[in-house]
Symmetry: D2
Subunit: 370 residues, 4 copies
């Protein structure tokens, strides 16, 4: 009972790794927006395995089908159902996991919660679940392109373990991000990261890192205090992604080192518009966007599935020595980039619609008259 996201642009995802398929239903999509499967597929292609030697060699086509909600190439305002069939399911790879609890995986907790579980390929806890979100995020991006054409969302890998790229002053293009399979727009850092990931792969181990996401062109006014602040919903969105362990916005954890006088963002007037001179706030103040760039960072732990043998136990409590046989990624970050962009698109679109409903239904004359 936690498989829906959003209040007005509401996404419900479904599907297990080795069931019939995975997908999503979107309720509340504005009508009239051009949409085809071809708009969604590139997002899934960025997310899918087998893109490079750095990722799992599984070849999953992840072809998406639009089952409803689109007519004559445009959204109709009715629910949009999206389905990607599972077609490369080698369930046999997972027979040994029926009774075994993989370290730092969801095997034990799903059993504890639901009494039993679909153990094939992680079942619902598989990263394959994210196909539904990414497909829905692709639709959100199409709608945002109509509603907020100036908005741009760009995520990229900022660090892998201790290898961190230098600060990137410009807003990177999609091409710059995707230039390397690591999805780090700094070529030198990307090369080091790629080597690190390859080394982990060869050692049967895995690595983690941090992804930065930047959003520019968002209007001031998005975010719903006091609980549904923009940063609160972004934090929830990011922590809902498998393997994420941390979130920070603006100055984040480093900002605690500064005094208030050094941290505050002074307001100035540029081109007749009030704006903040600096941006330690990360584009949000009091839970509401202020018109500046919104940026935040998400930490991903190293992938739990590794080939190195690990001690664990099975259901009966017996000790087991486990070595993953299935296909897996040594580093989740490159494939997490489109997931983060998708979740960010969902948050921004939902907040745009919420703000629009409450604050842009009354005539502006209402205010000028008083």
């Amino acid at each position: 009972m936690g498989n829906s996201f959003g209040q007005l642009f509401r996404v419900t995802t479904f599907g297990e790794s080795h069931g019939a398929g995975v997908g999503a239903v979107i309720d509340g999509c504005p009508p009239g927006v051009p949409l085809a499967a071809a708009d969604i597929q590139p997002w899934l292609d960025r997310r899918r395995p087998g893109q490079s030697a750095l990722a799992t060699p599984r070849d999953e086509a992840d072809a998406v089908e639009i089952l409803s909600g689109v007519f004559d190439g445009r959204t109709t305002g009715t629910p949009i159902a999206l389905l990607a069939r599972n077609n490369n399911a080698r369930s046999g790879d997972y027979d040994n996991l029926r009774d075994t609890y993989r370290p730092s995986h969801a095997d034990f907790t799903y059993d504890a919660k639901y009494g039993f579980r679909d153990y094939r390929g992680g079942g619902r806890a598989s990263a394959r679940e994210t196909i539904g979100r990414v497909a829905a995020g692709a639709v959100a991006a199409k709608v945002l392109a109509v509603l907020l054409p100036a908005l741009e969302i760009r995520a990229y890998v900022e660090s892998v373990q201790d290898i961190a790229m230098p600060p990137h002053d410009t807003f990177p293009t999609l091409a710059e991000v995707d230039a390397s399979p690591v999805r780090c727009p700094d070529p030198a850092a990307a090369a080091l990261m790629a080597a690190r990931i390859a080394a982990a792969r060869d050692a049967g181990d895995s690595v983690g890192g941090v992804i930065r996401c930047r959003v520019r062109g968002a209007p001031a006014g998005l975010g719903e205090p006091v609980f549904d602040r923009l940063e609160a919903d972004l934090a929830k969105a990011m922590l809902s992604i498998p393997a994420s362990k941390g979130f920070e916005i603006g100055s984040g954890f480093a900002g605690v080192l500064l005094a208030g006088s050094a941290h505050n963002d002074a307001f100035v007037v540029h081109d007749g518009k009030v704006c903040a001179e600096t941006n330690r706030s990360g584009g949000v103040q009091g839970g509401i966007s202020n018109g500046a760039e919104v940026f935040f960072r998400t930490a991903f732990k190293p992938v739990a599935t590794i080939s190195l043998p690990q001690r664990t136990v099975d259901k009966s409590g017996a000790e087991v020595l486990l070595a993953a046989r299935g296909r897996h990624d040594p580093c989740v970050l490159p494939r997490a980039v489109p997931i983060i962009e998708a979740m960010t698109a969902l948050v921004f679109l939902d907040h745009f619609l919420r703000d629009h409903a409450q604050n842009h239904s009354t005539s502006s004359a209402l205010f000028s008259a008083t």
Copy 2:
């Protein structure tokens, strides 16, 4: 439209700093739980200003009244409305803020979103808003004491700027935390933090820091994948607190430095129970609690309100030199400790009820029979 929190134990807060009062309505509270205003008041007393020389000298009684939902000393299952009247409102302190946008405050964004704002004392964006959540959290804690008597929630200040306490191996008692006005259970670190806060106060400046929260005694099984993971809802809860800028659970941002083989928590059997030998997961795996201690950290920026003069602009775009005249805290952290504990109680109770509804309504015979 973002003033409610929780799905089954649902809290809606209301109130501005200088209106008639602040409070909350709780819908979905289990019936029969002993409850009186005296159960809530200590939580508000820990949150209120004027507790020590380190906090604002405002003396706000914050006396809570239970308006409904309690009869003969027990909750009835109907909505519990809680009200704390505002009674020390020196609105005059804020007249100069009618048209001025304080740096890193919500003045500008509230204007941008709603068209105008209650500028007195920050209005809805005032930390005074948190009274409603803390009162509701106190009720949640009473209910948890019945439903999950083994559960304990303890938050404390772990760092102020660069002053960090050493790791605390034992689970600190409430008395240890409250022994110092800083709410750091390490006496030596607490003394250094107190001096740093006092120095900031004397300089007309402010400081931030990090609060750790620890939860022990939670059962395995809490958390609702894929979006309402336990850590996702905790992240949202924490990022919804004023001045928070970051959240991490378990190994968090530091965990990205480790290889998977070093990060994974091996399962072992202790006293016939499956449990994790280490706890870099922070008590959650796949979005669900695993029975281990749940711990997480929240970063708070330095308070935006400072006495030092700051450049900013007013509504008309004119430059203004602003120095806060109102009463304010040089450091929000000591008072944020009960807020974090309250939000944590709300998350755990709500997730307990959600898990109970779905997974503990069917007879266990259902599973043993198959």
Copy 3:
């Protein structure tokens, strides 16, 4: 956990008959709308007891206080908390009800559900609960006056037992409705109804009837298929009112007697606008308003509280002969009129905002361009 109503203009009510007070919190109110307690009070005055000899002689002032969400006479967009203190609580009247289950009351079911109950004056099941909804409905009406100035909502008593007014061709004014204490705009029928109610009162008995509600000036397009159809939400709203037992829209139950060829509403063009020539649909087609008058009828059973002695049992199962001693209405309908108008206002405003969010955020250019 069922004390909230609405998705975007969301009302949560609280309070028991003999607790500290009753009220509501509204989240999602558009900002900038003029609002004062004086706008709400007339609604409560129409609802309150003691208005005429036909109603209970209890004199409850039901004075409403706005606790939050309004500044300088206008809504701020933050939660609006409304409170009416209880001040005429003669709890002693109800001591004999502690253990007795009144026939057709909620005493037994509240005990069955929650384990115990606040038995004073019906507790949460008292009609006094409706103060919160009526106050919230008054706020909704103020907002609708800004958003949809052509919209008019008018409810009136159409029948008391078998006394039915003739069809009213014109849209009655508020003055016509309130001309008689029965709130029936047909003077002859109203006189008969008043006599019938007085006779029931004198006999220690009670009577029921039907209220018609008419809404004109609603735009086409309100209602959210497939579950949140306009008529579905109206039905829910009406059946949530104490003592209601039936709802019908348009031709309703009588419409089943007609053939489709006689029932269908032909479309025609009037003044260049597509509209239905007849209105057996009741202003809704496919769950969405079509621009015609929306009208529906709600059935109210006779009040359960009567002075005549009745057989029943107490908690221990012992037989009891019960005669109501408290103050009560012989007929709930005159006071239910503003309750129905309030619930109707809540439904229409919520649906306006929902429609606005999804369907009026995209530029109309989107459609013309294709």
Copy 4:
């Protein structure tokens, strides 16, 4: 944004008449419940067209596929996605409806709301939409069979136009209901109804009627005052079904004719249990089930689609003479019976889970101890 139903057992439906398919996603299903497509198919078979000469001759297999949420023949607690492909779509039948507004259909209102529509076969407004609800209701019925094995839900056609069956004292079996294609358990009335429907069909016309639904074996305690009363959610569920125009529970509209003394249901003790001697309340008091049979009636207007020529207009405002060419039912009632049972199952299961979460999480010791 109204395509979800339920709070804890939450169903989201999707699909248009002539798109790729229709279906539903269920979130919150308790785990461990035996489930296969074969459990759902009989419900769809009762709903589908072509069952008898009284229904449309369209032959739609409506074969359901379970895409997710079931493993090893049992529900896993994760989302259950259900899909029925559309496979008999003669879209050409509807080309003439692209620009024409059929009387009393949703063509005009969908255009008014969304700007354009999928006009093929009614699109989302087609009764084909109800496949998703019926499939979800079938799942709910399977869960109820585990949670509340004594619960029985039975709907049947009580009247067609002015032909009404006599009161049925016993609780009819499924076989009795399905003995006639009309789904009226009284053979004599069923024969008259069948003749009336056939006559309407032959005349190119249509008829409406009333369906009664009865629920026995429900425990006392279901229903969530004050807004989510059991009867309020039932009313909403029924009014959300296409072509429904009225709802009444217990004594309903007829009950308004009685005096309170004649209407009240006296409590008595039977077999040591408190129960109501009569049942004019219809099994609900104060919005909560009292353990008696819950019964209610739903009115369905005559089907809007008829073969007789009708006047209407097209988009341009030009007058059109329209005669339906597509395949259609002369009477919706026989096929609406399983739809009503499905919606009723959804309401009861959702309310069981809600009640369970709030009121059965605390130990009963809590109450006995006080």
